[in-house]
């Protein structure tokens, strides 16, 4: 006899995500039979706002598109504007940009550690990792003046040079974090509960992953080594040595292992950048922003964020304002078509585990 399906509304506020998004679950007993994502709780109309602002004013908006990881937005927007205009960026600025992007990746992974562990009931992990994340935010505050939103990477370079004593402090934070990662392993990855709750859960079919639009750590957890940093190196990633992991499995556990591996790589990248950074200019000055018109053109640029490929499609019609800025974050696919399909057949308790492992971030769906 078929059991009667019950409808559960998960969200808009719940532990599976950073932001507000509702998933309507139809369940039979404990098993999800249908999931539908509903967005619309966060729409701020940034893309429309940018059409009414000049090229420089728009730069202050883009970082607000994604709360947990604003820097890929800034970098993407700046690079798109530079590509349309043909503006050169000083070498030192490129290194500083990579430094910011990698610090941003580390703090995003530390936030993910907290969320992923908490979704399986390991609340201590979140206290530790979010506490340690504050050391990265301290670095950001020294460098940019802001802890979460930086408004630092702008067209032409970066806004300020490294402050005095920043390098030493950054090295010390990296050394500290590297030691802490072993503690995280003992608490989270060696934990039998975490292993049982994540292994074999939310498996993505590796044959279909690219076709379904999966990007970033979930794609690399399907055994496919795809990363914008190696596929289409931007800034100075082609001058740095790092490994991009690809493990087979496709489940939540493998996605966690990928991030565990990548956070170590990011720490190494930060060290390399600090060591190799050349001296010189950090900003190629733009003209008067109120009269700054870009030539007609378009640019499609991509960055590898902590959750996957982050892309901007920017169109200029030759005026002082953008014609169109279209943002595509990884969650646009991960949190809607992919999630709706992955949740079918899963237990209700695993819904937030799967959401966290995909890096669901509604602000970038709605912009």
């Amino acid at each position: 006899m078929r059991k009667k399906a019950t409808t559960i509304y998960l969200g808009p506020q719940h532990p599976g995500i950073t932001g507000n998004m509702m998933v309507r679950l139809e369940v039979e007993g404990d098993t999800v039979v249908k999931a539908t994502t509903h967005v619309g709780y966060l729409h701020r109309g940034f893309e429309k706002l940018m059409e009414r602002r000049n090229w420089l004013q728009s730069f202050t908006i883009v970082c607000r598109i994604c709360v947990p990881e604003p820097d890929p937005n800034e970098e993407n927007y700046a690079r798109a504007v530079e590509e349309i205009e043909g503006r050169e960026v000083p070498e030192r600025a490129k290194y500083i940009r990579v430094l910011v992007l990698e610090l941003s990746r580390i703090q995003a992974y530390l936030l993910w550690y907290g969320g992923q562990a908490a979704s399986t009931g390991l609340y201590t992990m979140g206290q530790w990792s979010i506490g340690d994340r504050n050391y990265i935010l301290d670095l950001f505050e020294d460098l940019t003046g802001g802890r979460v939103y930086h408004m630092y990477i702008w067209p032409g370079g970066v806004r300020r040079d490294l402050p005095k004593g920043f390098k030493d402090k950054a090295f010390r934070v990296m050394d500290y974090l590297e030691k802490r990662l072993d503690d995280y392993d003992r608490l989270m990855f060696d934990n039998a509960i975490f292993q049982k709750r994540t292994q074999g859960i939310g498996v993505i079919d590796p044959e279909k992953a690219i076709e379904w639009g999966v990007v970033g750590p979930p794609l690399r957890a399907c055994g496919i080594r795809s990363d914008v940093r190696i596929d289409e190196p931007y800034e100075v990633y082609d001058k740095l040595k790092f490994e991009v992991p690809a493990f087979k499995g496709g489940d939540v556990w493998t996605r966690a292992l990928i991030r565990r591996f990548e956070i170590r790589q990011s720490i190494n990248i930060v060290r390399q950048v600090l060591e190799q950074m050349p001296s010189g200019e950090y900003y190629n000055k733009i003209p008067n922003p109120h009269k700054w018109a870009l030539p007609p053109g378009e640019a499609f640029v991509k960055t590898e964020s902590a959750r996957g490929e982050f892309a901007y499609y920017v169109v200029s019609d030759g005026s002082t304002h953008p014609r169109r800025v279209h943002v595509k974050g990884p969650a646009y696919v991960h949190a809607i078509t992919l999630l709706e399909n992955l949740l079918v057949g899963q237990n209700i308790a695993d819904v937030s585990v799967i959401m966290n492992s995909l890096g669901t971030c509604p602000p970038e769906i709605e912009r």
């Binding site: 729409h43 893309e47 809607i336």
Partner: protein, 188 residues
């Protein structure tokens, strides 16, 4: 640029004049076509050329030319090239082919474009409301949607706040209530 040139040759051989091709820069190829050919072009790219990833679908409103530009961006994990496939549709009767049978995630992009630009996709299934709720105005991402006049029409200053005066004073004036002594020091 070798891979880009090979790609352009392959598409030219198959579609001839129907597709206008250009290398924008390293790893970016622009393919302009019409709405009758776009489905075949995307299917050909996906099935034969290995462009199996749909990275993005975007829309630009060219109100001066009375056109919408739809941009389908595909990517190949082998070539690592993005193709920007473009079509232009008439703004008066904006209808485009639905491609969510080629890539299922296209459904989300199309639903958003339908809501934000008012473009209909032939046979698109999915709730009409995606991000907006109870939207009665013209689609908001169109260039002729005036944000300022919408705000003026829709939102209003709360009575008593027109000149940013203290609400307690207004209420007191209206009702004749006494404002307590301790609260008076905060009034202007």
């Amino acid at each position: 640029m070798e891979k880009e040139n090979i790609l352009i040759e392959q598409i030219k051989q198959k579609f001839g004049d129907k597709v206008e091709l250009k290398i924008q820069r390293n790893k970016r190829v622009i393919a302009k076509t019409n709405k009758d050919t776009i489905e075949q072009l995307l299917l050909y790219e996906k099935e034969k050329l290995g462009y199996i990833h749909l990275a993005h679908i975007s829309c630009v409103d060219w109100i001066e030319d009375n056109k919408f530009e739809l941009v389908y961006i595909t990517w190949s994990p082998k070539d690592k090239i993005n193709i920007l496939n473009k079509i232009y549709i008439n703004r008066d009767n904006p209808v485009a082919p639905n491609i969510d049978y080629i890539w299922r995630q296209a459904n989300t992009y199309e639903r958003e474009i339908r809501e934000m630009f008012g473009i209909e996709f032939d046979g698109l299934v999915g709730e009409r409301e995606f991000i907006l709720e109870d939207w009665k105005d013209i689609p908001p991402m169109r260039k002729d949607f005036d944000t300022l006049s919408y705000v003026k029409r829709t939102y209003f200053t709360r009575p008593g706040r027109e000149d940013a005066q203290d609400v307690r004073e207004t209420i007191a004036n209206r009702t004749g209530e006494e404002i307590p002594e301790f609260a008076k020091k905060y009034t202007r």
